[in-house]
Every structure is written in C-alpha cells, then in structure tokens.
Symmetry: C2
Subunit: 335 residues, 2 copies
C-alpha cells in the first residue's frame, strides 16, 4: 500500500477503498463468492436457515493465543453451531480508526481467513468503514453468519427437563484470563491462552450422535453462570452443578484470585454447555471427545425439579450456594 | 431504565444487559423470531439467498429527514434489493459509547422498527456492545440482511451491453447535502432532507416488469460517479450520460457550490441506477413510477461500445467530460 496506515479515504468508497480491497482484503479472503464484489452475495441454502450476528470490541486487539479476527470468526461460527446449524457463510463489517496500521489489519484478516477455513465457512460479503482518529479504538469487527439448520434437531431451553445432565466441554475462564493478563500486563505462563476455537464440527458430531440434545450454549459474556441462569429461568427448572467437576486451570484461578473474579462468570470463546437426556450423556461425551475441543468434556451437574429458576453450586465441602445471574460489572470488552 | 445513560454494564451480558433488551430493544423490535433470544434466529428460506452487510458510522447521528437507524435498515434493505432479492430478515449489531442517552437509543431503535415495517423485513437477531467513553462516537450500527433472490433474474455488471439505457430513479445528492448541512450548521430549507428510503418494493416491481434488467445499484458512498465507473470497468463498455438529464435540487447544488463538491460524487441513500435493454426502458420506468421513490425516474444516458471502461458526461453546452472514479477524498462518515 502507498500508505502504511489506514486513512479516511480507505473508507470513502472510491479508488483508495478499492485499493484496500484489492491489496489487503481480497488476497486474504479471496473466494469466488466474495470476488464478485456485488452489493451482496448470492448463496444457495436449503430450507431452515440459522442467522446470527455479533460485534467484537475486545481490548487488547492482540492477546495470548489470538486476536480480534479470530474471535470474530469463531464467535459467530459458534453462535450458529449452538442453534443446531452447520455454519456456511459469514459477512464481515469492519470499523477502523484512522491511523490503524495496515500490517495489523493484514494480520487480523489473515487470521480470519485461517479460522474460516478451519470451520469450513466462506466469507461471502463485507464492508469497511473508517472513522477519524479518536472516534473508535483501533478496530471493531462485526460478523453475521448464516448456516443450514441440521434437520431433526430442536435446540431450545424450553426442552430442558428435570433429570437431564449438564455437560461442559472443557476448562473455563482461559479467554478472560488471557485478556485480563494482556490488559494489565500480568505475566502468565505461555499455557494460559484464549480458548477461542470454532466448535461447529464438535456440535455437529454431538447432534449426529444424539439429535435430541435439549439445548447447547457457548458461555461467552457472563460465563457459565449467565448461561445456566438463562436456561434455568427459561425452562423453569433448577440446575445443580458440582464445584469439583468444573475444570479450571490453576493459573486462571490465580488470575481470578488476584483480580477478584469468580471463573464461573468469566467469558469463554471455545466452550459449549449442553443439556442432554441422562441416558444419552455418555454418547454425547463420546462424540465431543472426537474433537480436539472436547477432550476434557464432562458432566458437571443435573437439572432438578426443585428450586425452579435457580442455579446451585454443590461446593467441595458439601454445602450448596446459589450462583446468581451476573449483574453487569464483569470484565468489559472481553469479546 | 434505572439509568438514563448507557453504561458499560449494559454491554456485559448480565442482568443489566437483559434490562436493556427487555426495556428498550424488545419493546421496539418485538417479534416472534427475535423474542426467543437464542444465540441466533431460525428462519425459513427458499433456495438462493442474498446476503449482505454494512456498518453505519454517520455523523451527525440525527439529521434532516432521518437518523443512523433509518440508514442502517434502508441501506441493507437496498443492498439486498440491488442483487435482485426480496429482503426478509435483518440482524442488528450496535456498538454504543458509554454515556449515550437511552432516549436517543430509543428513538433510533423505534425508527429502525418503523423502516423495517415499511420494507416488510423482520429484525431477527442482534447484539449490543458498549465501549468506554471516548472509545467510539455515540453509536455505530451494523446490519446484515438475508433475502430471497427473485427467480429468473440475473443482476451482474457483466450483463451490460452497448445500446442499453441507464436509468436513475430521482434527484441526487440530497442525503449528502443533509448530512453536510447538519455537520457544518448550514441552514437549509426544510425541503432538503436525506432521501433515505427502502427501495425493495420499487426494485421488485422493476424486476417483475422486466426480469432481464442487466444490473441495479444504489449510488451510496462515491455517488453515481462511483457506480457508473465500477460498471463501466466490469462490463468493459463505455457509459455516456447527459448532464441535463440528471436531476439535482437547486438547494443541493447550492451546498455543493459552497463546499466545492460535485453532486455526481455525493452519496444517496434512496436512489437506484439501473441498466436495462433499450426496448424495455419505458416498461422499467413505468414500474418505477408505481413507487413513491421512483416518481422522478428517467433515462440519463446509454451504454456505448466506444471508450470502454470510462464514463463520459455530455455537458449542457455540448462537450463531453470524463467522470473519473472518485479517489477517496469525498465526504467522510456519510453513512
């Protein structure tokens, strides 16, 4: 590029915008759908379609194990996956602050392409806007996604019934710990990285093994605590989980102790919570373990008829404490 | 709301986020698809699907005849329309600066609902993030949209052939003039307002009347000049338009003269440029005039075999000047 920083002209829709497309965006994403550069993409879908969106405002933009582009692809892939769909196409809307380094933009879009390839989704359409210095915070990325709903599945918290098992796909809090460490310059072992990953192949295996999974959710903002509370409320059931079954890396627990956070409330970007009929739990776990992202999957609790609408945690010493819905004063800009 | 400003907690995914959803967003958008509040929406589509996205960063957020929410719905509705599709569902991703007045947010989302209703589209899924004061500029809105491609149509600049007519749906530059007047506190007559409007019903009527319309585009960023240049380049044809046929309100021309802009380069948010076989031009015009947004539709030029890849303007005094692709130093943050 003539200029090594993003300028307002890159977002104005003229020749300079075209250059950004042709020299940065297309070489990274390049595919037949996007290359036509129409106002929109035309894609073939088959009946029931899942549709979702998320904006990403994470700070810092680069952190242990990932960057905002990785989040932007995986987050939307995972939202589609959790509705019981096979993610197919993504849109990418970028809002860039004037002066943002082109090199960083290149890193971000090439990460997006890499994650899209891993997930098997195509970046089909996009848009880039530039705002003046001081009017954004580096880069914000919105992705929307569409996917083919897997026939015969019906994901809804209303399906949750007493006796069902609660499954968690692995260690929690890694993403939030990586972000907080990056933000506060806390030195963590290299092993503490974002868990950000595309879960669509794992959830597809789960639903193929057990089509009557009641509900799946990815515990992002608000963490496992928010997801469980939302499901308890919607299903009018109680949920009781076992503290000892919830996997937390010692270093993540350390960051939490240092900063005063409860890992149950921390965002994850590559985890899945699933509610399944008790008799199918082993089958679901087996399916999850076919994925690199489900190796540590386990049952962490069950659904109860008692205490409808509330989430309880059976502690290591035998008591039960209520896990409330987070209020809102958790870690901001975690995704 | 307990608080009359948006806070970081409103974007954190906890109880306070839920309140924003339940007290501001759902009452405005409320519909069965959105109300389920899953990670994504499930919608029924039929085969070929158009998919598009745009982020809106316009300043000022409120301007003569509209606000950022009106743009965000109409812009994406129009992008879908220009691909030859019937817009069906929208996603809405909002990035809000801490301290943004809830009252303004309510105005914006209720405008979005109103425009969605006019266009006949459903806001199916969404996401809200909040960033710290000084890290955004009030509010940024991304919309993505999906629509059903109208069977039998094939919109592509490669279809453009010498002899075809160029149709423009009405007066140009109104949107940019309204924004510039708002930004520079220029007092304009109340008649100068954004032209922002959903064009989907007009384009549907056009395609029903003449399915072999070669290409349609909405001349937003970069204006009519950018659209014509893109089509000239892609089709390897020349395009010759008549200055006298291009409708510009006197007040808009006045703003352009004052600020040194050429209306051909100014963004429109409710206009359509269509390339049609010469023998079908009257039929297309008749269809356009069934819409309130096509009353001033007219032929503004034709496609030529000469001067491939370039756009010429036949001036009032009989000369021809080349209309270049805009470089990039046009009005920033116009949409």
């Amino acid at each position: 590029m003539a200029n090594d920083k993003v300028t307002l002209a890159h977002g104005a829709g003229g020749k300079v915008s075209q250059e950004l497309m042709e020299q940065v965006i297309l070489p990274a994403y390049g595919n037949p759908v996007l290359n036509t550069l129409h106002d929109g993409a035309l894609v073939e879908m088959k009946g029931e379609v899942a549709f979702t969106t998320d904006s990403y405002v994470v700070q810092p933009l680069f952190f242990a194990g990932g960057n905002i582009g990785k989040l932007a692809v995986c987050g939307t892939v995972n939202d589609l996956s959790m509705t019981g769909a096979i993610p197919r196409y993504l849109s990418v809307g970028m809002i860039i602050e004037e002066g943002f380094p082109i090199k960083d933009l290149q890193t971000i879009v090439s990460t997006m392409k890499k994650m899209a390839d891993e997930a098997g989704v195509v970046i089909a359409t996009g848009d880039t806007k530039v705002v003046e210095k001081g009017k954004a915070d580096g880069i914000f990325i919105n992705t929307a996604g569409i996917g083919d709903k897997i026939p015969g599945t019906h994901i809804s918290p209303e399906n949750v019934k007493p006796g069902m098992k609660v499954i968690l796909s692995g260690y929690i809090g890694d993403h939030a710990a990586a972000i907080m460490a990056g933000r506060h310059n806390i030195n963590l072992p290299a092993s503490v990285q974002t868990d950000c990953a595309p879960l669509n192949k794992m959830t597809k295996a789960m639903l193929e093994a057990v089509p009557d999974i009641a509900v799946m959710r990815d515990p992002t903002r608000g963490g496992v605590a928010a997801v469980l509370n939302e499901i308890a409320e919607a299903s009018k059931c109680g949920i009781l989980i076992d503290e000892d079954e919830i996997p937390i890396h010692a270093e993540v627990q350390g960051v939490c102790d240092m900063l005063g956070f409860d890992p149950l409330y921390l965002a994850n970007e590559g985890k899945c919570v699933a509610f399944v009929p008790a008799e199918s739990a082993d089958k679901v776990l087996k399916a999850m373990r076919t994925s690199p992202y489900g190796q540590e999957a386990r049952v962490i609790g069950e659904v109860t008829a008692e205490a409808p609408g509330t989430v309880g945690l059976r502690t290591g010493i035998g008591g039960i404490r209520v896990v409330d819905m987070p209020l809102g004063n958790i870690v901001p800009r975690i995704c």
